[in-house]
Symmetry: C2
């Protein structure tokens, strides 16, 4: 059973259970309206040694940072600010304290920088492999919540940073070049928390998510949820090192992908530039069509073999 | 580093981070006041194959049930009703679908029975071992929340069910007797969710927690948090099969342990009996003393070598 097969199976089994106000699975977070115009949002990720990381390929500090960053990114993708986390860690029996301390230090350093509290968790032993589970909790105005299903024909498509550095870094690491700048980016992803909360406050932003599996794969989630198509102008994709394939197919960039009302596109880009001193890249548009990406290069449709990163 | 060493280390590192309204670690759940007189409570547990369970010693359905039950018990221990969960599962590559389906079915069956929604999660692969992380979410009136720190001298101590069956079942399983009634209880613990929510509404109930590590160990958490002592009348402990050692030192009973104002003890017991058709057992009293348990047998202090279950 694939990851999605198992999720579908669970979704069918639970279809008849009262959700007590929690919104259905399908976005980066699950959202609960808590009244007073506010919501709480939750997301969770499990990382397993040998699958998501190798103990020797990253320092424990880097792994602590990354385990947290990928979850903060999911909260940012909803347009909310992360406020707290829960951390579960299973460590092999007899493992040195140094690793656990380093991991918690990396997790704590990023938590301090982002102002995110650690409010619960679990520690236990394992037989062989390290396993880590992080839950991130966001909170903010209900009106700020951005959903994958909110894209409309006429929207422009944006990405909030350059793409592909993490994939280039992974390639470096696999080739034994562990000390390159790209390798460091792969090991130390940054969540766009400030950008996410700011974009949450912009009503012209419609759909939003974070790029964890690559533009080619992740944009399809928005298109399917919103029942629309997209045209992407390949030459406008902000590809690190000019490597468009890495930018489109590579995973783990954790940059925000969003759609916004076309008539507000320039204002949004200008205000984003003023706020963050960096560009909000416009890469295409949403169209009334089947959920499919048309890749356009200098005005002509091309048919590249681009697809996203498949986990599991 | 022990489990508690790691938690202390993390607590020190995070001491200066704004908690955004989340109450500090130390109870079965972390609690957030969401306004309107209501709270949300969260708890999490990680279960690892080879440490918490053996793949062949329980069916996947039983494991799905148990993974959920232990978390629902933590919510019940706060005096709140569980409403939703998040489930993360890491499964070894190449594992048969049947196991995953069975696990989700067991989890779903108990969720249906308790009216608890599945509102998020993660599925991934692992190299060798199954790892499971469950987050349970409770919601209810802020005035119902019971804390470990609320015991007072003059309170009576109660347990909301018979103790020791799970430990006897574990002994049976380890001896190869996997089909006894106790073994079934060990594999299929029930959380006292109805009892927890009902006791939450009783203002005479002061401190509460669930018995996961045995009375000898868990009562000490209440005594330390409340800065008081306890006298336990050994002959009143509702020990399954008369095995007091199993009742006091055995883990995983998941019965509620609580203290309540002495002058309301009889009313509480009577009302509990009317509500649930079962006894709320009075086993001792809270006294103004150092955090220590005095074991009293027929009026005389005894000094048994009783201690709780130590994980990790």
């Amino acid at each position: 059973m694939t990851e999605f097969g198992l999720i579908d199976f669970a979704a069918r089994l639970f279809a008849d259970v009262d959700r007590h106000g929690w919104e259905a699975i399908g976005d980066d977070c699950t959202v609960l309206d808590i009244g007073g115009g506010e919501v709480v949002a939750l997301t969770t990720d499990m990382l397993v040694e040998g699958v998501h990381f190798l103990r020797d390929a990253a320092s424990p500090q880097e792994l602590g940072h990354k385990a947290l960053a990928v979850n903060l990114s999911d909260v940012a993708a909803m347009g909310l600010r992360p406020v707290a986390t829960l951390l579960s860690v299973a460590l092999p029996k007899g493992m040195e304290d140094k690793w656990a301390r380093g991991f918690i230090e990396g997790y704590s350093d990023l938590s301090h920088r982002e102002g995110v509290a650690l409010v619960g968790g679990d520690t236990t032993s394992s037989e062989v492999s390290i396993a880590i589970n992080v839950v991130a909790i966001g909170r903010g105005p209900a009106s700020h919540v951005k959903r994958r299903s909110a894209a409309c024909a006429g929207d422009e498509v944006f990405v909030a940073g350059e793409l592909g550095a993490s994939a280039l870094g992974l390639a470096d690491i696999l080739a034994g070049r562990t000390d390159t700048g790209y390798a460091a980016i792969h090991r130390n992803p940054e969540a766009q928390t400030a950008e996410g909360a700011w974009l949450g406050g912009r009503s012209e932003v419609h759909a939003m998510m974070d790029l964890s599996d690559g533009l080619a794969s992740d944009l399809m989630h928005i298109l399917r949820a919103s029942s629309c198509g997209a045209e992407i102008d390949v030459e406008t994709i902000p590809a690190v090192g000019g490597d468009v394939r890495a930018a489109v197919c590579g995973g783990e960039d954790y940059k925000l992908l969003l759609t916004a009302a076309g008539e507000r596109a320039e204002t949004l880009q200008r205000d984003f530039g003023v706020e963050f001193g960096r560009e909000l890249y416009r890469v295409g548009r949403i169209v009334a069509a089947e959920p499919r990406i048309r890749w356009i290069e200098h005005g002509m449709e091309i048919h590249p073999d681009w697809h996203g990163f498949v986990h599991f």
